[in-house]
């Protein structure tokens, strides 16, 4: 046994090694569901033994051997048929190639984001199998009971097994579709982390850091992919604002009112450089455009310095390649900033006929904002109130109600 390490170092090491070991096992044995259970047990064994006895000289080899043994035991107990047992014996675990394992994380991500799974299951499975988080940590992070997460994971593994999915890169033709699912899952993880703000969520595992870590791994593996780079840049440029997103009293602060001095300049520089390089070299995609939008905001020293003309141009592009109701509304805000609130209100009147926007509180929120810009304060207040009443987001409700109050400080209705 090698040197002793602090528990936190061991935890980090295990989380790095977990997908590598799982990748090696699945590459060797193909039965993802059993391998995943076996790796969890090996990690548990390491988490108890290593702090006491020291980290072995080859920790990845140690985990791989323990997990392989465990996998064979599980596999035997699952199918007692002699023929298969003999086969299992013949493929004893010692000959696993450790050299190739570093490259397995992409295959593992693709498997965890398999199209037969629901998004909630993809997220849970990715966090466990690739992120190396325990079921309890995932439950705390997602604010659902541990039993729910355990159920999602075991169900997901059964589905992967039933679908006959294999641990390998899909053919080139299908790859971009599969990769899109992976990016979507990592984006969900990132957004889930971004919601953590106060009180009940203080103890959430840092999903933002986890999403960025996995995104960096993916980017190392696929540096030429424009959307991979775009999503990494988007995460960096969004996360850089995190220190300014929450005020002292725990309320979330909208972009225009944030103290930009609190933004993380180094992360902004990294994200901006990445997206600038990517836009110049790769075919454009939605994540890249979102990142470019974030970069325009991040590079304005003050809210009033924001280059709205450029933002409007980017939204015109987003509207072409990835239209959606939120894109429509955000573009209308940009229209109002460039051409004035009346132009925005006219476009809003047309846009809200889209069924996807009918009854959406954000239409009221945008209308309130444009009415406030145009000086019609009573109407603005009414629409802020309406939006506050209809939103499902507590921070948004606080913000919208505060805007309404600010426009009518004497009105306690």
């Amino acid at each position: 046994m090698g040197h002793l390490s602090a528990p936190n170092d061991i935890e980090d090491l295990l989380r790095t090694l977990s997908p590598q070991v799982l990748g090696a096992l699945v590459r060797r044995f193909d039965d993802f569901d059993i391998c995943e259970d076996a790796v969890q047990e090996a990690l548990l064994a390491a988490a108890t033994q290593w702090p006491r006895e020291g980290v072995p000289a080859n920790p990845r080899g140690w985990l791989t051997v323990v997990a392989s043994r465990r996998r064979t035991e599980m596999w035997r107990s699952e199918s007692a048929r002699r023929r298969r047992e003999e086969a299992a014996f013949a493929s004893a675990p010692a000959d696993i190639e450790l050299g190739a394992v570093l490259d397995d994380s992409l295959e593992l991500l693709l498997l965890c984001c398999h199209p037969s799974l629901t998004p909630v299951s993809q997220v849970a499975l990715t966090l466990r199998a690739v992120g190396g988080l325990t079921t309890a940590e995932i439950a705390r992070a997602l604010l659902v009971p541990e039993a729910t997460v355990a159920q999602r994971i075991s169900r997901a593994k059964q589905r992967i097994k039933a679908s006959g999915a294999r641990f390998r890169l899909p053919p080139e033709a299908e790859r971009s579709e599969c990769l899109a699912a992976v990016l979507h899952v990592l984006y969900l993880v990132f957004n889930e982390g971004s919601t953590a703000s106060s009180g009940a969520t203080l103890h959430r595992v840092d999903l933002i850091a986890e999403a960025i870590r996995l995104m960096r791994q993916l980017h190392d593996r696929l540096p030429e992919d424009g959307e991979v780079s775009g999503l990494l840049a988007l995460m960096l440029l969004t996360d850089a604002r995190r220190p300014a997103r929450v005020s002292d009293d725990g309320a979330l602060v909208p972009l225009a009112e944030q103290d930009r001095g609190l933004w993380d300049a180094q992360t902004i520089a990294e994200g901006a450089a990445l997206i600038t390089h990517t836009l110049a070299t790769a075919p454009v995609g939605p994540y890249q455009l979102q990142a470019a939008l974030a970069a325009v905001h991040d590079e304005a020293p003050r809210a009033e310095d924001t280059d709205w003309q450029q933002i409007l141009g980017l939204y015109e592009l987003v509207r072409t390649i990835a239209p959606g109701p939120m894109v429509t509304l955000n573009r209308i805000v940009a229209v109002a900033m460039v051409r004035g609130p009346d132009a925005g209100l006219r476009e809003l009147a047309t846009a809200e006929r889209d069924p996807a926007l009918t009854g959406n509180h954000r239409v009221d929120a945008v209308r309130a904002h444009l009415l406030e810009m145009s000086g019609d304060l009573p109407a603005a207040r009414d629409h802020y109130r309406l939006a506050a009443q209809r939103t499902l987001s507590i921070p948004e409700q606080r913000y919208l109600a505060a805007r309404a109050t600010r426009l009518a400080p004497d009105d306690h209705a």
């Binding site: 629901t118 998004p119 909630v120 299951s121 849970a124 659902v144 009971p145 729910t148 159920q151 999602r152 169900r155 957004n191 889930e192 971004s194 919601t195 953590a196 703000s197 969520t201 979330l252 909208p254 972009l255 939120m326 929120a365 939103t391 499902l392 987001s393 507590i394 921070p395 948004e396 409700q397 913000y399």
Partner: protein, 123 residues
């Protein structure tokens, strides 16, 4: 998104239940168990409970740090909350689809409420 499915009880639904034979009741409970099981299997169920009779409810009033407890006001109420499912699912449409499978939905006694969340901040 999280949704709370509320199941109410009223005199009509209680009368129907009381008129059931033993077999019918057993079948009804099996339907509930199957519904519960399928929500667990889909990973959507967070928690589900049945509430005790409203005559057992207590109303609590705090006054200067002291709790004053009175019997619930519900003993005479004809329609009351009888149980709930808390689900996590992608949309209100999906929550409604699940709610429609609850037997009480046949009597208009099932309600779906969206849960407020800490996310959705993109103004």
């Amino acid at each position: 998104m999280k949704y709370l499915i509320l199941i109410y009880s009223n005199p009509q639904s209680r009368e129907i239940w009381n008129s059931f034979s033993r077999d019918q009741r057993a079948a009804g409970l099996r339907d509930y168990a199957a519904l519960h099981e399928s929500m667990v299997a889909s990973g959507e169920l967070i928690v589900s409970e049945a509430l005790a009779d409203p005559s057992l409810a207590k109303r609590v009033t705090s006054h200067e740090g002291q709790a004053l407890v009175t019997d619930g006001p519900y003993a005479e109420v004809k329609e009351y909350l009888a149980g709930f499912f808390l689900l996590e699912c992608p949309s209100m449409e999906r929550a409604i689809e699940q709610a429609a499978r609850i037997p009480e939905a046949a009597f208009g006694l099932v309600e779906v409420r969206a849960i407020m969340a800490l996310d959705g901040w993109d103004i």
